[in-house]
Symmetry: C2
DNA sequence: CTGAAAGCGCTTACAG
DNA sequence: CTGAAAGCGCTTACAG
């Protein structure tokens, strides 16, 4: 019933704990354990189903073989799938993964980081919240490896994997303009996070580069964390007071989902009455009738790059916080919600 | 730079490690530490930002304050949201959570359980795979608390939180029958898991209780883990060879999603040509035009009940594997995809 | 080639 | 009221 320890193995084999430890840690050869001894040890380990006690190992080595994954919301399509890939890769490399959701709340995020630090995780992958800078700087000072994913922290050197939000937004807006839309509603949330500010900048640049025609931009910003009901009613209100709109640009996945709900409630048809595009792909956008044009984040690439980078930093193959990272290109997937605009008076194509 | 330990705190205060330990573990009163000493210790702990080394504590006590969450796929809406709630509840109770996805693969699941056991998790919440019985029995023998979620293991006494799949399926099928549908396609996957067998049983019972009219059932079973392309083409094939169908019943969320894609490809309209219902709700089903009638799983209730039960077992407030659990009632959400059937005289085909 | 032993940082039974 | 000390199960420098 009691768990077997290295001592038990050593005793049963009439050898020393040292020898058993060397075998377990693959140091037999380097330490000159005879193949015969090695085999004896291995066989008994298997027979007794011995597994080294991780707490003891952790206490001794200071390494936990555990990673911390802090995302905004694990229940979300994007982060859930990021998490899945990260966990699989971590597992392949002998790591377990703690996870948790910040819900974009600073206090929660700080608590989670500290909670995990007390469990001595070997490294973090973090989706930052707005006020997390201090906490993350502390990690750096203590030399704890971490990689930022999805968003940067302004004025902080770090390792990161982010989307090229500017470019994605620019291209998505440009797509609308090229298709003839001239009164575009930009619906986003109040946020200082690079992710959101870059999307806004990209959108505005595209508008300014709009060419010969003047493109009008109408902007609606929603408080982060507003309830679904509130968000939908704000979007509905926006639609009612801006009747000239011929296209909507949703700056996030969930705004897009709620926006579509608002449009349905207002009996505004896509794309006959208004064109729609959104950041982030999901099942809904793909299967809806009409399907929705999006800037899609390459989830697999983002997850893989971030865990690979973190493992490299942990193994000291890469320096921590050397300000190197990956900027992943989003893909514009054109679907039915943004057809060439039918021009009434002017020439048609 | 070096982490501060209890020894450092004790030395600086000219007291013993014992005293510090008692304060930290809230045993001051029971052990008769004077309030003055207690305060001194607490203040210094805060000042030095001392945090007990979890590895040492774990080695000493054998408790890790860590839970293991093993689900089918964390990237999935249902499991992702289950995970989120479980993590929040666990955190409130001082636990960290390891997670991983089995992808419904036995070998993966076994490996994950063992990997987590070596990290001495204090308890598991497990979405079982088909051949996991042995492994789970082992946990029981070693007195490691666990709660099965979403599916039972046949002939195994355990603690569990599952959906009343039979009832949900029965009610969903009955809804179709009551609305006048008579040729219903039942699309599910090959599986011995209780979850799937119960859904099939519920469906068949509803058909048999169908009343005066004879209800025809047509069944399509798909190999688990078939690719999306394969699944869609199998469903398309099924639709082509069963032209008499007037309704489809999808036994899982993702079959429903792929089924809708198949219907779109085949240019079969919902609900004019065929009615559709599915197990599990999601954004897509809610927002699609037409929206899809579903048997919805109360995610929050399931997650909360399972973590509460696990914590009770860990705290020995409930016996492990006493075969007690919760059977949660699904809710039938009627939407546009299953309207009252228009009856045309009698024959059409 | 292999072993005895220190020490990682805690908790707790025991002693005073 | 408080302290000295054993021991949880490992890893590894040192000795032979």
């Amino acid at each position: 019933m009691k768990k077997v320890s290295m001592k038990d193995i050593a005793k049963e084999l009439n050898t020393s704990i040292t020898t058993v430890s060397f075998v377990i840690n693959g140091k037999s050869e380097a330490m000159g354990i005879s193949p015969a001894t090695e085999k004896k040890v291995r066989d008994l380990i298997k027979k007794r189903e011995f597994n080294p006690n991780s707490a003891a190992r952790m206490l001794r080595t200071g390494k936990s073989k555990t990673l911390g994954l802090i995302v905004e919301d694990i229940g979300n399509f994007f982060f859930g799938n990021i998490a899945k890939i990260i966990e699989i890769e971590a597992n392949k490399n002998g790591y377990n993964v703690f996870f948790s959701s910040t819900e974009n709340n600073d206090e929660t995020a700080k608590k989670l980081i500290n909670k995990m630090r007390n469990s001595s995780v070997d490294g973090y992958i973090i989706t930052a919240t707005q006020g997390l800078k201090e906490e993350v700087i502390k990690l750096g000072r203590e030399n704890i490896p971490f990689v930022l994913i999805d968003r940067l922290i302004p004025d902080l050197e770090a390792n990161y994997v982010i989307l090229d939000n500017y470019q994605g937004s620019y291209n998505l807006a440009k797509h609308l303009i090229e298709r003839g839309y001239k009164n575009i509603g930009f619906i986003s949330i109040y946020s200082e996070m690079s992710m959101m500010t870059e999307r806004e900048k990209g959108f505005i640049s595209a508008i300014n580069d709009g060419g010969t025609d003047t493109i009008q931009m109408h902007s609606l910003k929603i408080e982060f964390g507003s309830s679904e009901v509130k968000t939908i009613s704000m979007i509905s209100e926006f639609l009612k007071t801006n009747t000239a709109l011929d296209a909507l640009f949703f700056a996030t996945n969930y705004l897009g989902v709620m926006g579509i709900e608002a449009l349905q409630k207002c009996k505004i048809r896509i794309p006959q009455d208004i064109a729609v595009v959104s950041f982030d792909d999901n099942d809904l956008f793909r299967l809806l009738t009409p399907s929705i044009t999006v800037a899609s984040q390459p989830i697999k690439e983002m997850a893989t790059k971030s865990i690979e980078m973190l493992l490299r930093i942990i193994k000291k193959e890469q320096k921590l916080n050397d300000n190197r990272g990956h900027i992943i290109k989003p893909e514009i997937i054109v679907r039915e919600s943004s057809p060439q605009k039918k021009v009434l008076i002017n020439s048609k194509h």
